[in-house]
């Protein structure tokens, strides 16, 4: 007997998805407007912030799904369907990545990544990329053809794995065949190393090569940490939204919230550990060829932003997520999730925006127009991703009704 309070999953999605699409398109439009107000390279680098941000979240959802399968997890089955809906965003992200490729192929090659143009004069150094021996040594990797091929490859891999996972899960709703679960486990087996490598090289190509003199073996792991944090925070927002709508009432209980909260805590600690290790090792050895990257990020107002990351991206969520009651009550955990999503944005800015420099080789300040375009890009791309999720949402059941672990997940208690 259906309860009139429970809204159908098929109807309430429509106005929400239109809202998301509008916000998305508006954000993109304002960013395009930015091309009139700011130089192309500032707007383009800010667009990269948005791409890096939302790719991180999408990759995080991909990894959450893969990890769920490889662990044969118990509690997360009720949530997994929402992860799978989020994976639909990859094709749009691929499309939204195109402007970056188009600008570099058809516009000024060094709009975003300086090494793409051999004639680019390195700020503050007085020599061009072509005469830079450090570039020559990595030119086999850092060239526009390789960049393009690999970037396309990354999206192909992510879209392919996502579609395998989605198809298996959605089809299992219809035929209840256990072999779909086995297929998912196999996908997870080879998928996790593949996603690990692609996200690492995406971070190297798209983010680390902005400052191509710099190198760090930890960089891919840093990006992974933000991927997971972003995905878990979005999971909380989805859980709150669906619970308040009534869909998840009677399905989610305190132990589910607690589990997600604990993972958020764990990855907060993990992010802190990774970022600290990277910084500390470079600080301690004090070798100029490595420390300059951090020195750039201590110039002007960037030092303050670094402190915001230390205290806001690590310490505050760490302390807040220690408490049990904050993890199981919707209002506080939602605030924490929103906060973390905010500081991930600042982390991406901190990693990417200092690549935009003035003639003396100093990064433009954080509080400049570049930040505005980064915000509008992130909102724009985000709107499209959320729209993609909302479009995928009504196409299937709310939870994987024939998954072997669904009953365990529903009755799960710690």
């Amino acid at each position: 007997m259906s309860n009139p309070e429970v809204t159908s999953t098929h109807s309430a999605g429509a106005p929400a998805s239109n809202k998301a699409l509008t916000i998305g398109l508006a954000g993109i439009a304002v960013t395009l407007l930015g091309l009139v107000l700011s130089p192309v390279h500032i707007v383009a680098t800010s667009w990269l912030v948005g791409i890096a941000y939302w790719c991180a979240i999408a990759i995080g959802f991909l990894l959450l799904t893969l990890i769920h399968h490889i662990f044969d997890a118990q509690w997360s089955t009720v949530l997994r369907r929402q992860f799978e809906h989020a994976l639909s965003a990859f094709k749009w992200l691929a499309l939204l990545f195109l402007p970056l490729l188009l600008i570099t192929w058809f516009g000024a090659k060094d709009t975003i990544w300086p090494w793409m143009n051999p004639a680019h004069l390195l700020e503050g150094e007085g020599k061009t990329v072509a005469n830079d021996m450090v570039y020559a040594k990595k030119s086999a990797f850092l060239n526009l053809n390789a960049f393009t091929i690999f970037s396309v490859l990354f999206f192909v891999v992510w879209i392919w794995i996502s579609s395998r996972l989605r198809k298996a899960s959605f089809t299992q709703d219809k035929d209840g065949n256990a072999s779909w679960t086995k297929m998912n486990r196999m996908t997870a087996g080879f998928g996790i190393p593949l996603v690990a490598l692609t996200l690492t090289f995406a971070a190297v190509y798209w983010l680390k090569s902005l400052e191509y003199h710099w190198f760090s073996t930890m960089y891919g792991v840093w990006y992974f940490a933000n991927c997971m944090r972003g995905a878990y925070s979005c999971t909380i927002l989805i859980m709150v939204w669906l619970y308040n709508r009534g869909d998840f009432k009677g399905i989610l209980h305190s132990d589910h919230w607690h589990s997600v909260g604990k993972m958020m805590f764990a990855f907060t600690v993990f992010w802190g550990y990774i970022s600290f290790s990277q910084y500390f090792l470079i600080w301690n050895a004090n070798v100029p060829e490595e420390t300059f990257w951090y020195n750039l990020r201590e110039y002007g107002d960037w030092w303050g932003i670094g402190m915001v990351l230390v205290f806001g991206h690590f310490l505050l969520p760490f302390l807040l997520l220690l408490s049990y009651s904050r993890k199981v009550n919707k209002a506080p955990i939602r605030r924490i999730a929103l906060w973390i999503l905010g500081v991930i944005f600042i982390d991406m800015c901190w990693n990417i925006l200092p690549a935009v420099k003035d003639a003396a080789g100093n990064p433009l300040p954080f509080f400049s127009l570049g930040l505005l375009w980064a915000l509008t890009s992130t909102i724009g791309i985000g709107g499209i991703c959320v729209w993609s999720y909302l479009k995928s949402f009504p196409t299937t059941k709310l939870i994987p009704i024939h998954d072997p672990r669904i009953t365990e997940s529903l009755t799960f208690h710690e």
Binding site: F276, Y279, F280, W283, N284, N286, L322, Y324, H413, E414
Partner: protein
């Protein structure tokens, strides 16, 4: 019959039986009673009306003490009392002081957690009336017990025994003090 018995003890065969019996004892308003189980049973705390353990408060105190001890100790020793310049590093930096402070945080948290748990459980209580019961070895093996102490205000030799029997308790016996 003992002069001043410690309490009544009843045995149960399965965790499910124990759970339902515990709910009955809790609802009857008893306060000085306990369950004995060979392993922790999920949900039994709720059935007994026991609140969430406060061990975490000890842990947090220990952790904060450890961290502050570490940082201040290192500052005092390397940047104040006997300053040595090493490798051009600053005399004190939270960065290099972090590993040791972190370890002390964990060490003190561990001590506080275990100390707090021992304190709350009254451990190192090598004598306890319940350990004299001749079937008590089943409590660490495969059986479940409920013990209701005579010191409980609601204790009544006949009513309590009846409650335990009605709740499904087997071999209800008196414990000598």
């Amino acid at each position: 019959m003992a002069e001043h018995p410690y309490g009544l003890i009843a045995r149960f065969n399965t965790p499910g039986d124990l759970y339902h019996a515990a709910e009955k004892v809790r609802d009857a308003g008893y306060k000085n009673w306990d369950c004995l189980t060979p392993m922790p049973i999920h949900g039994l705390d709720t059935a007994m009306g026991v609140k969430r353990s406060i061990v975490p408060r000890f842990s947090l105190t220990g952790g904060i003490t450890g961290f502050c001890t570490g940082m201040s100790m290192i500052w005092w020793m390397n940047a104040y009392d006997y300053k040595i310049i090493v490798g051009g590093k600053p005399l004190f930096s939270p960065l290099f002081a972090f590993p040791v402070s972190y370890e002390l945080t964990i060490l003190f948290t561990a001590f506080a957690t275990i100390g707090g748990m021992f304190f709350l459980n009254g451990l190192t209580q090598l004598y306890h009336p319940v350990l004299k019961y001749d079937k008590i070895h089943r409590a660490t093996d495969d059986s479940f017990f409920i013990v209701i102490e005579t010191s409980d205000p609601r204790f009544n030799a006949d009513n309590t025994r009846a409650l335990l029997a009605e709740a499904g308790g087997l071999e209800i016996a008196e414990l000598e003090a």
